[in-house]
Protein backbone atom coordinates (compact mmCIF):
# COMPACT_ATOMS: atom_id res chain seq x y z
CA UNK A 1 0.00 0.00 0.00
CA UNK A 2 1.26 3.42 -0.89
CA UNK A 3 1.89 5.45 2.26
CA UNK A 4 0.74 9.06 1.92
CA UNK A 5 3.47 11.44 3.08
CA UNK A 6 2.13 13.77 5.77
CA UNK A 7 3.68 16.69 3.88
CA UNK A 8 1.49 15.97 0.87
CA UNK A 9 -1.66 15.65 2.95
CA UNK A 10 -0.89 18.92 4.72
CA UNK A 11 -0.16 20.69 1.44
CA UNK A 12 -3.45 19.64 -0.13
CA UNK A 13 -5.31 20.78 2.99
CA UNK A 14 -3.40 24.07 3.14
CA UNK A 15 -4.26 24.78 -0.49
CA UNK A 16 -7.91 23.94 0.18
CA UNK A 17 -7.95 26.54 2.95
CA UNK A 18 -6.94 29.06 0.28
CA UNK A 19 -9.66 27.79 -2.06
CA UNK A 20 -7.19 25.99 -4.31
CA UNK A 21 -6.42 22.45 -5.43
CA UNK A 22 -3.08 20.88 -6.37
CA UNK A 23 -3.90 20.88 -10.07
CA UNK A 24 -5.30 24.42 -10.08
CA UNK A 25 -8.99 23.46 -10.42
CA UNK A 26 -11.93 24.94 -8.54
CA UNK A 27 -13.58 22.79 -5.89
CA UNK A 28 -16.51 21.92 -8.12
CA UNK A 29 -14.61 21.63 -11.37
CA UNK A 30 -14.06 18.43 -13.33
CA UNK A 31 -10.92 17.48 -15.20
CA UNK A 32 -11.06 17.05 -18.96
CA UNK A 33 -13.56 14.35 -19.91
CA UNK A 34 -13.27 12.26 -23.08
CA UNK A 35 -15.80 9.66 -24.17
CA UNK A 36 -15.24 7.33 -27.11
CA UNK A 37 -17.74 4.66 -28.07
CA UNK A 38 -17.61 1.53 -30.28
CA UNK A 39 -14.02 0.85 -29.28
CA UNK A 40 -14.23 -2.94 -28.93
CA UNK A 41 -15.46 -4.89 -31.96
CA UNK A 42 -16.31 -8.08 -30.13
CA UNK A 43 -18.54 -6.32 -27.61
CA UNK A 44 -22.13 -5.46 -28.46
CA UNK A 45 -21.55 -2.06 -26.90
CA UNK A 46 -18.42 -0.39 -25.59
CA UNK A 47 -17.01 2.90 -24.41
CA UNK A 48 -13.73 4.28 -23.20
CA UNK A 49 -13.92 7.15 -20.75
CA UNK A 50 -11.05 9.36 -19.63
CA UNK A 51 -11.46 11.80 -16.79
CA UNK A 52 -8.08 13.49 -16.46
CA UNK A 53 -5.65 10.57 -16.32
CA UNK A 54 -8.22 8.08 -15.06
CA UNK A 55 -9.19 5.69 -17.83
CA UNK A 56 -11.99 3.12 -17.79
CA UNK A 57 -13.13 0.77 -20.53
CA UNK A 58 -16.68 -0.62 -20.34
CA UNK A 59 -17.87 -3.48 -22.53
CA UNK A 60 -21.45 -4.70 -22.90
CA UNK A 61 -22.13 -8.28 -23.92
CA UNK A 62 -25.56 -9.71 -24.67
CA UNK A 63 -26.65 -13.30 -24.15
CA UNK A 64 -29.86 -15.30 -23.93
CA UNK A 65 -30.96 -16.70 -20.61
CA UNK A 66 -33.66 -17.24 -18.03
CA UNK A 67 -35.24 -14.37 -16.12
CA UNK A 68 -35.10 -14.24 -12.33
CA UNK A 69 -37.92 -16.12 -10.58
CA UNK A 70 -39.35 -12.98 -9.04
CA UNK A 71 -39.34 -10.99 -12.29
CA UNK A 72 -40.44 -13.24 -15.15
CA UNK A 73 -41.31 -10.25 -17.33
CA UNK A 74 -38.00 -8.49 -17.23
CA UNK A 75 -34.64 -8.92 -18.93
CA UNK A 76 -31.55 -9.34 -16.76
CA UNK A 77 -28.85 -6.78 -16.05
CA UNK A 78 -25.56 -7.84 -14.55
CA UNK A 79 -22.69 -5.51 -13.74
CA UNK A 80 -19.13 -6.48 -12.79
CA UNK A 81 -16.01 -4.39 -12.26
CA UNK A 82 -12.37 -5.33 -12.32
CA UNK A 83 -9.63 -3.24 -10.77
CA UNK A 84 -6.98 -4.91 -12.87
CA UNK A 85 -3.35 -4.77 -11.72
CA UNK A 86 -2.54 -2.86 -14.94
CA UNK A 87 -4.21 0.23 -13.56
CA UNK A 88 -2.31 0.84 -10.35
CA UNK A 89 0.65 -0.55 -8.42
CA UNK A 90 -1.74 -1.16 -5.53
CA UNK A 91 -4.25 -3.30 -7.42
CA UNK A 92 -3.65 -7.00 -6.98
CA UNK A 93 -4.78 -9.79 -9.25
CA UNK A 94 -7.48 -12.07 -7.96
CA UNK A 95 -11.24 -12.07 -7.56
CA UNK A 96 -12.90 -8.67 -7.05
CA UNK A 97 -12.69 -7.44 -3.50
CA UNK A 98 -14.88 -4.94 -1.71
CA UNK A 99 -13.81 -1.86 -3.70
CA UNK A 100 -14.47 -3.50 -7.04
CA UNK A 101 -17.74 -4.94 -5.79
CA UNK A 102 -18.93 -1.62 -4.40
CA UNK A 103 -18.05 0.07 -7.70
CA UNK A 104 -19.96 -2.53 -9.71
CA UNK A 105 -23.01 -2.39 -7.46
CA UNK A 106 -23.19 1.42 -7.43
CA UNK A 107 -22.97 1.57 -11.23
CA UNK A 108 -25.48 -1.26 -11.46
CA UNK A 109 -28.01 0.48 -9.21
CA UNK A 110 -27.56 3.69 -11.16
CA UNK A 111 -28.55 1.84 -14.32
CA UNK A 112 -31.13 -0.52 -12.86
CA UNK A 113 -33.08 1.61 -10.42
CA UNK A 114 -33.29 4.55 -12.80
CA UNK A 115 -34.75 2.19 -15.39
CA UNK A 116 -32.43 3.58 -18.01
CA UNK A 117 -32.56 0.24 -19.75
CA UNK A 118 -36.13 -0.77 -20.50
CA UNK A 119 -35.85 -4.33 -19.25
CA UNK A 120 -39.47 -5.12 -20.09
CA UNK A 121 -38.60 -4.76 -23.75
CA UNK A 122 -35.91 -7.41 -23.27
CA UNK A 123 -38.40 -10.25 -22.74
CA UNK A 124 -38.61 -12.93 -25.42
CA UNK A 125 -40.81 -15.53 -23.77
CA UNK A 126 -42.09 -14.47 -20.31
CA UNK A 127 -40.80 -16.67 -17.54
CA UNK A 128 -38.56 -18.60 -19.92
CA UNK A 129 -36.34 -16.59 -22.16
CA UNK A 130 -35.00 -13.06 -21.91
CA UNK A 131 -32.02 -11.04 -23.07
CA UNK A 132 -29.23 -10.74 -20.52
CA UNK A 133 -27.14 -7.59 -20.53
CA UNK A 134 -23.66 -7.99 -19.07
CA UNK A 135 -21.86 -4.76 -18.21
CA UNK A 136 -18.14 -5.27 -17.56
CA UNK A 137 -16.13 -2.37 -16.21
CA UNK A 138 -12.38 -2.62 -16.79
CA UNK A 139 -10.33 0.02 -15.01
CA UNK A 140 -7.21 0.77 -17.07
CA UNK A 141 -5.52 3.72 -15.35
CA UNK A 142 -6.36 4.84 -11.82
CA UNK A 143 -6.06 8.54 -10.97
CA UNK A 144 -9.14 8.98 -8.83
CA UNK A 145 -12.91 9.12 -9.32
CA UNK A 146 -13.61 5.68 -10.66
CA UNK A 147 -17.32 5.98 -9.81
CA UNK A 148 -18.01 8.74 -12.31
CA UNK A 149 -15.74 7.32 -15.00
CA UNK A 150 -17.33 3.87 -14.68
CA UNK A 151 -20.91 5.18 -14.61
CA UNK A 152 -20.34 7.39 -17.61
CA UNK A 153 -18.63 4.54 -19.42
CA UNK A 154 -21.52 2.19 -18.69
CA UNK A 155 -24.08 4.69 -19.99
CA UNK A 156 -22.08 5.43 -23.12
CA UNK A 157 -21.58 1.73 -23.81
CA UNK A 158 -25.26 0.94 -23.24
CA UNK A 159 -26.33 3.87 -25.43
CA UNK A 160 -24.53 2.36 -28.38
CA UNK A 161 -25.33 -1.29 -27.68
CA UNK A 162 -27.02 -3.36 -30.35
CA UNK A 163 -28.84 -6.58 -29.44
CA UNK A 164 -27.41 -9.17 -31.86
CA UNK A 165 -30.69 -10.97 -32.51
CA UNK A 166 -29.42 -12.24 -35.87
CA UNK A 167 -26.59 -14.15 -34.23
CA UNK A 168 -29.01 -15.93 -31.91
CA UNK A 169 -31.50 -16.66 -34.73
CA UNK A 170 -31.67 -20.38 -34.09
CA UNK A 171 -32.47 -19.99 -30.40
CA UNK A 172 -35.24 -17.43 -30.80
CA UNK A 173 -38.87 -18.53 -31.02
CA UNK A 174 -40.94 -18.14 -34.17
CA UNK A 175 -42.46 -14.74 -34.52
CA UNK A 176 -39.67 -13.00 -32.62
CA UNK A 177 -37.93 -10.57 -34.98
CA UNK A 178 -34.52 -11.89 -36.00
CA UNK A 179 -33.00 -8.50 -36.83
CA UNK A 180 -30.46 -6.71 -34.68
CA UNK A 181 -31.92 -3.81 -32.76
CA UNK A 182 -30.57 -1.10 -30.44
CA UNK A 183 -30.85 -1.64 -26.70
CA UNK A 184 -33.98 0.25 -25.56
CA UNK A 185 -32.80 3.11 -23.37
CA UNK A 186 -34.30 6.20 -21.81
CA UNK A 187 -32.83 9.43 -20.39
CA UNK A 188 -29.87 8.42 -18.21
CA UNK A 189 -29.11 9.92 -14.80
CA UNK A 190 -25.56 11.22 -14.53
CA UNK A 191 -23.50 10.40 -11.48
CA UNK A 192 -21.19 12.97 -9.87
CA UNK A 193 -18.85 12.23 -7.00
CA UNK A 194 -17.28 14.55 -4.47
CA UNK A 195 -14.91 13.88 -1.59
CA UNK A 196 -14.50 15.67 1.68
CA UNK A 197 -11.07 16.69 2.98
CA UNK A 198 -11.39 18.29 6.43
CA UNK A 199 -14.29 20.70 5.79
CA UNK A 200 -13.79 21.09 2.08
CA UNK A 201 -15.91 19.44 -0.56
CA UNK A 202 -14.02 18.68 -3.78
CA UNK A 203 -15.53 17.26 -6.97
CA UNK A 204 -13.80 14.73 -9.22
CA UNK A 205 -10.92 13.87 -6.90
CA UNK A 206 -7.58 12.94 -8.41
CA UNK A 207 -5.58 10.11 -6.84
CA UNK A 208 -3.68 12.29 -4.35
CA UNK A 209 -6.91 13.87 -3.11
CA UNK A 210 -8.78 10.60 -3.01
CA UNK A 211 -6.33 8.75 -0.79
CA UNK A 212 -6.44 11.40 1.92
CA UNK A 213 -10.19 11.98 1.70
CA UNK A 214 -12.27 11.46 4.81
CA UNK A 215 -15.57 10.78 3.08
CA UNK A 216 -17.04 10.44 -0.40
CA UNK A 217 -20.52 11.09 -1.78
CA UNK A 218 -21.89 10.14 -5.17
CA UNK A 219 -25.15 11.71 -6.37
CA UNK A 220 -26.89 10.76 -9.61
CA UNK A 221 -29.27 13.33 -11.07
CA UNK A 222 -31.59 13.22 -14.07
CA UNK A 223 -32.62 15.64 -16.79
CA UNK A 224 -35.41 17.10 -14.65
CA UNK A 225 -33.10 18.01 -11.81
CA UNK A 226 -34.26 15.15 -9.60
CA UNK A 227 -32.10 12.81 -7.55
CA UNK A 228 -32.02 9.17 -8.67
CA UNK A 229 -29.24 7.54 -6.65
CA UNK A 230 -26.81 8.29 -3.85
CA UNK A 231 -23.92 6.50 -2.20
CA UNK A 232 -21.75 7.61 0.65
CA UNK A 233 -18.37 5.95 1.11
CA UNK A 234 -15.33 5.97 3.39
CA UNK A 235 -15.45 6.36 7.14
CA UNK A 236 -15.82 10.12 7.57
CA UNK A 237 -19.09 12.01 7.80
CA UNK A 238 -21.05 14.73 5.99
CA UNK A 239 -23.11 17.54 7.48
CA UNK A 240 -26.48 18.39 5.96
CA UNK A 241 -25.03 21.57 4.41
CA UNK A 242 -22.23 19.61 2.82
CA UNK A 243 -24.71 17.17 1.32
CA UNK A 244 -26.60 20.12 -0.16
CA UNK A 245 -23.35 21.37 -1.66
CA UNK A 246 -22.75 18.03 -3.28
CA UNK A 247 -26.27 17.90 -4.66
CA UNK A 248 -25.91 21.34 -6.20
CA UNK A 249 -22.52 20.50 -7.71
CA UNK A 250 -23.90 17.22 -9.02
CA UNK A 251 -26.79 19.02 -10.73
CA UNK A 252 -24.50 21.57 -12.37
CA UNK A 253 -21.82 19.14 -13.46
CA UNK A 254 -24.42 16.55 -14.39
CA UNK A 255 -25.78 18.86 -17.09
CA UNK A 256 -22.35 19.36 -18.62
CA UNK A 257 -21.47 15.69 -18.50
CA UNK A 258 -24.82 14.76 -20.04
CA UNK A 259 -24.01 17.03 -23.00
CA UNK A 260 -20.69 15.23 -23.44
CA UNK A 261 -22.43 11.87 -23.33
CA UNK A 262 -24.87 12.88 -26.06
CA UNK A 263 -22.08 14.29 -28.19
CA UNK A 264 -20.17 11.04 -28.10
CA UNK A 265 -23.11 8.70 -28.60
CA UNK A 266 -24.77 10.87 -31.20
CA UNK A 267 -28.08 10.86 -29.37
Amino acid sequence: MTIVPIIKRDYITKLAEQGKRIDGRNFDQYRNIEVETKVVNKAEGSARVKIGNTQVLVGVKIDLGEPFDDSPNMGVLSTAAELIPLASPDFESGPPRENAIELARVVDRGVRESQVVDVEKLVITPGEKVWIVFIDIHVLDYDGNLFDAASLGALAALSTTVIPAKRFEKELPEGYPKEDFPLPMSEPPISCTAVKINDFVLFDSCFDEEIIADARLTVATDNNGDIRAMQKGLSGSFTKEEIQKVIKGALDNGQEIRKKLYQSTGK
Partner: protein
Protein backbone atom coordinates in the same frame (compact mmCIF):
# COMPACT_ATOMS: atom_id res chain seq x y z
CA UNK B 1 22.92 15.92 -35.67
CA UNK B 2 22.19 18.85 -33.35
CA UNK B 3 18.72 19.42 -34.76
CA UNK B 4 17.39 16.13 -33.49
CA UNK B 5 18.47 16.36 -29.90
CA UNK B 6 20.41 13.52 -28.41
CA UNK B 7 20.25 10.03 -29.91
CA UNK B 8 17.80 7.63 -28.29
CA UNK B 9 18.94 4.00 -28.08
CA UNK B 10 17.02 0.85 -27.15
CA UNK B 11 17.94 -2.48 -25.55
CA UNK B 12 19.91 -4.75 -27.83
CA UNK B 13 21.04 -1.90 -30.06
CA UNK B 14 24.64 -2.25 -31.17
CA UNK B 15 26.85 0.69 -30.17
CA UNK B 16 30.31 -0.33 -31.27
CA UNK B 17 33.12 -2.82 -30.76
CA UNK B 18 35.96 -3.47 -28.37
CA UNK B 19 38.75 -2.21 -28.54
CA UNK B 20 37.66 0.80 -30.61
CA UNK B 21 35.25 1.67 -27.77
CA UNK B 22 35.24 0.86 -24.06
CA UNK B 23 31.96 -0.36 -22.54
CA UNK B 24 30.59 1.79 -19.69
CA UNK B 25 27.37 1.99 -17.66
CA UNK B 26 24.15 0.74 -19.24
CA UNK B 27 25.91 -1.50 -21.76
CA UNK B 28 26.72 -5.18 -22.04
CA UNK B 29 29.18 -7.09 -24.19
CA UNK B 30 28.74 -10.17 -26.35
CA UNK B 31 31.50 -11.41 -28.63
CA UNK B 32 33.44 -8.15 -28.34
CA UNK B 33 30.40 -6.17 -29.49
CA UNK B 34 28.95 -3.50 -27.17
CA UNK B 35 25.17 -3.26 -26.86
CA UNK B 36 22.79 -0.93 -25.03
CA UNK B 37 20.94 -2.65 -22.21
CA UNK B 38 18.18 -0.11 -21.72
CA UNK B 39 16.20 2.78 -23.17
CA UNK B 40 18.38 5.86 -22.96
CA UNK B 41 20.56 8.41 -24.60
CA UNK B 42 23.89 7.51 -26.13
CA UNK B 43 26.92 9.19 -24.63
CA UNK B 44 30.43 8.73 -25.96
CA UNK B 45 33.27 10.48 -24.17
CA UNK B 46 36.78 9.81 -25.38
CA UNK B 47 36.48 6.08 -25.91
CA UNK B 48 33.96 5.35 -23.18
CA UNK B 49 30.47 4.57 -24.35
CA UNK B 50 27.64 4.62 -21.87
CA UNK B 51 23.90 5.04 -21.74
CA UNK B 52 22.10 7.76 -19.83
CA UNK B 53 18.79 6.09 -18.97
CA UNK B 54 15.55 7.85 -19.92
CA UNK B 55 13.31 5.69 -17.76
CA UNK B 56 13.71 3.24 -14.94
CA UNK B 57 13.32 2.85 -11.21
CA UNK B 58 15.82 4.47 -8.94
CA UNK B 59 18.81 2.19 -8.22
CA UNK B 60 20.42 3.15 -4.88
CA UNK B 61 24.13 3.85 -4.68
CA UNK B 62 26.04 4.44 -1.44
CA UNK B 63 26.30 8.17 -0.77
CA UNK B 64 23.15 9.17 -2.66
CA UNK B 65 20.97 11.88 -1.10
CA UNK B 66 17.42 10.57 -1.05
CA UNK B 67 14.03 11.73 0.18
CA UNK B 68 12.32 8.93 2.06
CA UNK B 69 8.83 8.40 3.47
CA UNK B 70 8.66 6.38 6.69
CA UNK B 71 6.57 3.22 6.31
CA UNK B 72 6.73 1.88 9.81
CA UNK B 73 8.51 2.26 13.11
CA UNK B 74 9.81 -0.86 14.86
CA UNK B 75 11.57 -1.18 18.21
CA UNK B 76 15.09 -0.48 16.95
CA UNK B 77 14.65 0.78 13.43
CA UNK B 78 12.33 2.25 10.83
CA UNK B 79 11.43 0.90 7.37
CA UNK B 80 11.57 3.73 4.87
CA UNK B 81 10.25 3.90 1.32
CA UNK B 82 12.90 5.51 -0.85
CA UNK B 83 11.17 4.87 -4.16
CA UNK B 84 13.57 2.02 -4.94
CA UNK B 85 12.72 -1.60 -5.71
CA UNK B 86 13.39 -2.30 -2.03
CA UNK B 87 12.51 -0.56 1.24
CA UNK B 88 15.43 0.88 3.21
CA UNK B 89 16.25 0.29 6.85
CA UNK B 90 17.07 3.23 9.13
CA UNK B 91 18.64 1.99 12.33
CA UNK B 92 18.29 3.84 15.66
CA UNK B 93 22.06 4.33 15.69
CA UNK B 94 21.90 6.18 12.42
CA UNK B 95 19.87 9.14 13.68
CA UNK B 96 21.10 12.19 15.61
CA UNK B 97 18.72 11.59 18.54
CA UNK B 98 19.16 9.48 21.70
CA UNK B 99 16.31 7.01 21.49
CA UNK B 100 14.93 5.12 24.47
CA UNK B 101 14.02 1.55 23.71
CA UNK B 102 10.82 1.27 21.63
CA UNK B 103 10.41 5.05 21.57
CA UNK B 104 11.07 5.18 17.86
CA UNK B 105 7.55 6.44 17.06
CA UNK B 106 8.12 9.61 19.03
CA UNK B 107 10.80 10.69 16.59
CA UNK B 108 9.70 9.35 13.24
CA UNK B 109 6.39 7.76 12.39
CA UNK B 110 4.49 6.48 9.34
CA UNK B 111 4.11 9.25 6.77
CA UNK B 112 7.02 11.40 7.96
CA UNK B 113 9.39 12.58 5.24
CA UNK B 114 13.16 12.66 5.68
CA UNK B 115 16.19 13.81 3.74
CA UNK B 116 18.64 10.93 4.16
CA UNK B 117 21.74 9.37 2.66
CA UNK B 118 22.24 5.82 1.41
CA UNK B 119 24.59 4.12 3.85
CA UNK B 120 25.00 0.61 2.46
CA UNK B 121 23.79 -1.71 -0.28
CA UNK B 122 24.73 -5.38 0.03
CA UNK B 123 24.86 -8.07 -2.69
CA UNK B 124 21.23 -8.99 -2.27
CA UNK B 125 20.35 -5.28 -2.40
CA UNK B 126 19.40 -4.94 1.26
CA UNK B 127 19.53 -1.19 1.88
CA UNK B 128 20.40 0.97 4.82
CA UNK B 129 20.11 4.73 5.07
CA UNK B 130 21.35 7.25 7.60
CA UNK B 131 20.32 10.62 9.05
CA UNK B 132 23.67 11.18 10.74
CA UNK B 133 24.83 14.32 9.02
CA UNK B 134 24.22 18.03 9.44
CA UNK B 135 22.65 18.15 5.97
CA UNK B 136 20.14 15.45 6.76
CA UNK B 137 16.91 16.00 8.66
CA UNK B 138 13.18 15.49 8.91
CA UNK B 139 11.31 17.63 6.37
CA UNK B 140 8.37 19.74 7.49
CA UNK B 141 5.80 21.77 5.55
CA UNK B 142 6.08 22.45 1.84
CA UNK B 143 5.06 20.01 -0.89
CA UNK B 144 6.46 16.71 -2.11
CA UNK B 145 6.36 15.42 -5.66
CA UNK B 146 7.91 12.63 -7.67
CA UNK B 147 9.77 12.81 -10.95
CA UNK B 148 11.37 10.32 -13.32
CA UNK B 149 14.61 9.44 -11.43
CA UNK B 150 16.60 9.14 -14.64
CA UNK B 151 16.37 12.88 -15.27
CA UNK B 152 17.93 13.82 -11.93
CA UNK B 153 21.01 15.17 -13.66
CA UNK B 154 18.91 17.34 -15.96
CA UNK B 155 17.07 18.85 -13.03
CA UNK B 156 20.34 19.66 -11.28
CA UNK B 157 22.02 20.84 -14.47
CA UNK B 158 25.73 21.18 -15.23
CA UNK B 159 27.32 22.48 -12.03
CA UNK B 160 23.81 22.85 -10.58
CA UNK B 161 22.96 25.54 -13.14
CA UNK B 162 19.39 24.30 -13.74
CA UNK B 163 18.30 23.91 -10.13
CA UNK B 164 19.79 27.27 -9.24
CA UNK B 165 17.80 28.99 -11.97
CA UNK B 166 14.63 27.35 -10.72
CA UNK B 167 15.25 28.41 -7.14
CA UNK B 168 16.17 31.94 -8.16
CA UNK B 169 13.02 32.68 -10.15
CA UNK B 170 10.53 30.93 -7.88
CA UNK B 171 12.01 31.97 -4.55
CA UNK B 172 11.45 28.46 -3.26
CA UNK B 173 13.62 26.24 -1.12
CA UNK B 174 14.14 23.02 -3.06
CA UNK B 175 15.67 19.71 -2.05
CA UNK B 176 16.10 17.20 -4.88
CA UNK B 177 16.47 13.53 -3.97
CA UNK B 178 18.41 11.33 -6.37
CA UNK B 179 15.56 8.87 -5.94
CA UNK B 180 13.06 10.87 -7.95
CA UNK B 181 11.51 12.97 -5.22
CA UNK B 182 11.55 16.75 -4.76
CA UNK B 183 10.63 18.72 -1.66
CA UNK B 184 9.58 22.31 -2.35
CA UNK B 185 8.89 25.05 0.18
CA UNK B 186 7.56 28.47 -0.74
CA UNK B 187 4.30 30.20 -1.54
CA UNK B 188 1.65 28.50 -3.66
CA UNK B 189 2.53 30.47 -6.78
CA UNK B 190 6.21 29.66 -6.51
CA UNK B 191 5.52 25.99 -5.91
CA UNK B 192 3.25 25.86 -8.94
CA UNK B 193 6.02 27.32 -11.11
CA UNK B 194 8.50 24.76 -9.86
CA UNK B 195 6.04 21.98 -10.79
CA UNK B 196 5.63 23.37 -14.29
CA UNK B 197 9.38 23.65 -14.73
CA UNK B 198 9.88 20.04 -13.63
CA UNK B 199 7.18 18.83 -16.05
CA UNK B 200 8.86 20.71 -18.85
CA UNK B 201 12.23 19.16 -18.04
CA UNK B 202 10.68 15.70 -17.93
CA UNK B 203 9.08 16.15 -21.33
CA UNK B 204 12.10 17.72 -23.02
CA UNK B 205 14.93 15.89 -21.27
CA UNK B 206 16.69 14.81 -24.42
CA UNK B 207 16.75 18.16 -26.17
CA UNK B 208 19.49 20.75 -26.36
CA UNK B 209 19.18 24.28 -25.00
CA UNK B 210 16.80 23.20 -22.24
CA UNK B 211 18.40 25.32 -19.51
CA UNK B 212 17.87 28.49 -21.54
CA UNK B 213 14.26 27.63 -22.33
CA UNK B 214 13.53 26.95 -18.66
CA UNK B 215 15.05 30.28 -17.74
CA UNK B 216 12.92 32.02 -20.39
CA UNK B 217 9.82 30.34 -19.10
CA UNK B 218 10.49 31.20 -15.47
CA UNK B 219 11.46 34.79 -16.23
CA UNK B 220 7.95 35.51 -17.46
CA UNK B 221 6.19 37.30 -14.60
CA UNK B 222 8.85 36.20 -12.17
CA UNK B 223 9.11 37.99 -8.90
CA UNK B 224 11.77 40.55 -8.06
CA UNK B 225 15.10 38.86 -8.23
CA UNK B 226 17.77 40.26 -6.05
Amino acid sequence: MPNEGRQVVIPGQILGEIPALIPGRGTFVENKKIYAERLGVLNIQEKFVHIIPLKGRYEPIVGDFVIGVVEEASTSNWMVDINAPYPALLHVHEVPWEIEFADTEKYLNTGDTILAKVLSVDESKKLQITLNDRNLFKLKGGHLIEFEPSIYRRIMGKKYSMIEIIQKYTRCRIKVGKNGRIWIDGDAEGIEKVLLAISMIEREAITFGLTDRIEEFLKKDAKDVR
